[in-house]
Amino acid sequence: MDEKLSKKLRILADAAKYDASCSSSGAPKRKSDPDGLGSTVGTGICHAYTPDGRCVSLLKILLTNYCLFDCAYCVNRRSSNVKRAKFSVDEVVTLTVEFYKRNYIEGLFLSSGIIRSPDYTMEQMILVAKKLRRDHGFRGYIHLKTIPEASPWLIEEAGLWADRLSINLELPTEKSLEQLAPEKDGASIETAMEQMSERIEEAREERRHFSPAGQTTQMIVGADETTDADVLRKSATLYGHYAMKRVYYSAFSPIPDSSAILPLKSPPLMRENRLYQADWLLRYYGFDVDEIASSTEQGMLDLDVDPKLAWALKNRHRFPVDVNRADREMLLRVPGLGARAVDKIVVARKHTTLRLEDVARLTSGLKRAKPFLITADHHPKARLDKLDLRERLIEKPEQLSLFV
């Protein structure tokens, strides 16, 4: 690989790394043709992990980090003094194919700064995907970032080649968008999301290919004043209206050459983690967003305990729950019991009466579950009402320190 290309790759990978959505999941299973290259597996594969614990699944790069937009939180905004580079379409195609052949990646995640016009930029990105699919018979994963300011027909085209499309909302409120991302506009972002979700749904019904792995989005946490409750309300709307596969939360992280109007501090990683946990409760545990909001302090999630535990501590009258009798919905609300553990419990108790040691084999969260749970040989009794219960259940923050 020649040195010039290597150098560009460093710049344009660095420029893309603040996007959290690297997953390669959700595509229908595909195998390569006899002359082609690539396959997809349902859950996606992480080919490596960087020392920030993040998964490297796709070749995540920008086509270029030259950009006409001036979004304050973004390392590539036009007023930033970072080094700039631009790939040609063929360079991206070569890198994807050669990396893929060596089993470094599952596919490509392509985004770009806006050059010339949103349409021109989007066309170049589509061209990359088209070349990979048509000229190289590439059947690996392709995730294209959609530019909501581009003409609607480009979205129609992009979905035919990509496995997943996404538009990052970045900021949850219209006000923050206006302040921090002057070129962006929440209404056109949501119009494009709606267009994509309609087309994805229709294609699924008609068994055609159009972004079969759905669409995702990302919100930055900690760059503006939005509370967790409002972030989650926005997520609930996005899941409901546009059938998002996932909403990613990205703790605002200090960037080289950052803008003067933003906080320069360590990223709120714990907050990000709690938002993911709360998001999970919305999607898989039957919680609605108001229930989660009601267990926050002035709209902010408790950083010391996970959101399910926070909810349980505020709703102690609904516990303890009998593991051998309670229905699935209520078991899902027991802190420390994950959805998979609950499913196993529901099946196992048809054949046996569960004791504490049995539950211990089904979950790693027994310590948190114990005060809320009745088993054949255990009843928490008054312990559930003790005032210091929260303090005793706080996780030791060993993994959370930034530099270990």
């Binding site: 690989m1 290309l5 290597s6 790759l9 460093r10 990978a13 660095d14 790394k17 195998k31 390569s32 043709d33 006899p34 002359d35 082609g36 690539g38 396959s39 594969i45 080919h47 490596a48 992990y49 960087t50 020392p51 920030d52 614990g53 993040r54 995540k60 006409l68 036009r78 007023s79 003094n81 060596r102 089993n103 470094y104 806006i114 016009s117 949103p118 349409d119 088209k130 581009a150 027909w153 129609e156 087309r199 229709e202 008609e206 055609r208 703790a251 992280s253 200090p254 080289p256 050459d257 950052s258 803008s259 099946v347 048809k350 046996t352 049995d358 084999r361 930034l402 530099f403 270990v404």
Partner: protein
């Protein structure tokens, strides 16, 4: 009672284990009387002669579990699996459902460990290009369990057109683009020592790391150290961790700098000026995009004067239109032209186009049979159609047939109920049948009747366009 000793080969010896289970069950030998040993030189100790025995019926879940767990490196695996089979066949048929049972729990953990190792092998194998003119690749990998044969099909599915070899201490796998073959164990030295893309890959790996989020524990949980030595990018890890704190401090301490470049005023202004301004520009965009439906030799654009009073929207180009690249030149188009002439609508007054710009068909022998575009496909073309109308600015938009109605209104509506005047967004509209419908009618009498009705529609369309002209009413701009 004596202890019966069953000997199996090294690795995942599913075949011997199956055979042994059949025999042990037939002999009614309980697990406490059986011992499983792994040995490559059978016969050294007093082994049991395993005779053929009838197959044993066990639940699917159990046999799937066995297939996975025999790959585990734990020598106890066969004994544990036999205990499981024994219990399942002796009164605990649903044993697997009791995930809390100590034996089920232990076997489940083993299966998970095997699946994880498989997954990690799929993820962490790194191919290197071999020296020589032909493109061949090889990799050295050290799995934790005996999973080479179970892991190989994944690589076949993915790298079918590549010639590759995976070398491991427990065997090797070779795919020559036609056949998968397993060979003897190999050594690290048998694999290439470098690859020209590794440095670029390492550079990529270093660049995607965010020092402000350093968390080596999370990394090691998913990428245990035992895999590191066969992954070229991991050489960068110590350096990245060491300098992380310092890099973040520098970012935080550094004051915001002033942009060195001036604001590119002119580029900013030009950026929003991206919409096509003429039909020619729009058509160039459509041509460049290529078909959004399968098939088609070329895009067929709308045709007619740029500011025509009436726009007729059909379904999609047919066989003739596709070959000639012009709309409404086939049999249905000819019928429409005839009807227009008879009702006094001049070609110069009308702009003809289709909802879908490409011919979609099914090949039957030499004939290309028209195939109806799906609702989703019609919607793919909708933004272009809307732009087209915006550029033509007609006074009246005529939908010929259901597909056109769907394209113009965004909703599926039956023609029989909606025939007549309509509103398409801000446009005055009219709904009638597609001329091809008239051609398909079975008998002459119905045909004539339907044609008369069609002429009636065209006369009203003609009058509507005139009326609008007289009142001077202009349609509102498109949404």
């Amino acid at each position: 009672m004596t202890l019966h000793r069953i000997t199996l080969k090294t690795g995942a010896d599913l075949q011997t284990f199956r055979k042994a289970v059949r025999w042990l069950i037939a002999e009614e030998l309980a697990p406490q009387h059986v011992m499983f040993a792994v040995d490559d030189a059978p016969g050294l100790f007093g082994n049991e002669t395993v005779a053929e025995a009838p197959p044993v019926t066990i639940p699917k879940g159990v046999s799937r579990l066995i297939e996975q767990v025999v790959c585990h490196s734990d020598p106890e695996r066969y004994a544990l699996l036999y205990s499981l089979v024994w219990r399942v066949l002796n009164g605990e048929r649903d044993l697997l459902e009791v995930a809390s049972d100590p034996l089920v729990h232990r076997i489940d953990l083993m299966a998970r460990s095997v699946r994880r190792d498989l997954h990690k092998m799929h993820a962490f194998v790194r191919f290197r290009r071999m020296q020589g003119e032909l493109e061949r690749f090889a990799a050295w990998f050290e799995p934790e369990h005996f999973i080479l044969e179970a892991a190989a099909p994944f690589f076949v599915d993915r790298f079918r057109s590549m010639d590759w070899t995976i070398l491991t201490p427990i065997g090797s796998a070779r795919w020559d683009r036609h056949e998968l073959a397993f060979g003897p164990p190999a050594q690290r030295e048998d694999a290439p020592v470098e690859d020209s893309f590794e440095e670029g890959w390492r550079g990529y790996y270093e660049s995607v790391f965010n020092p402000a989020r350093v968390n080596p524990t999370a990394m090691r949980a998913e990428m245990p150290k035992k895999y590191w030595r066969n992954m070229p990018e991991t050489a960068a890890i110590p350096g990245l961790i060491q300098t992380a704190a310092q890099r973040v401090e520098r970012m935080i301490e550094q004051e915001a700098t002033m942009p060195t470049k001036r604001t590119p005023e002119r580029a900013l202004e030009a950026m929003w000026d991206q919409e096509p301004k003429t039909l020619e520009e729009l058509n160039a965009i459509i041509a460049k995009a290529g078909p959004l439906v399968p098939g088609a030799t070329q895009a067929v654009f709308g045709e007619g004067p740029h500011h025509a009073e009436i726009v007729f929207v059909g379904e999609q180009p047919g066989d003739q239109e596709d070959l000639q690249g012009r709309p409404f030149v086939g049999p249905a188009g000819k019928l429409l032209t005839k009807a227009m002439r008879e009702t006094g609508i001049g070609r110069s007054q009308a702009y003809l186009t289709n909802a879908v710009k490409h011919f979609k068909f099914e090949q039957r022998g030499h004939r290309r049979i028209h195939s109806k575009p799906t609702a989703g496909e019609v919607k793919h073309y909708r933004p272009w159609l809307m732009k087209e109308l915006e550029l033509v600015r007609p006074k009246l938009v005529v939908a010929l047939g259901a597909t056109a109605v769907l394209a113009l209104s965004g909703k599926a509506t039956p023609i029989t109920r909606s025939r007549g005047r309509a509103k398409f967004g801000a446009y005055e509209g009219y709904i009638t049948v597609h001329p091809s419908y008239l051609l398909r009618l079975p008998d002459e009498a119905t045909k004539r009747e339907a044609y008369e009705a069609f002429l009636g529609d065209l006369r009203r369309i003609h009058d509507l366009a005139q009326a609008n002209l007289e009142t001077g009413e202009l349609p509102l701009a498109a949404e």
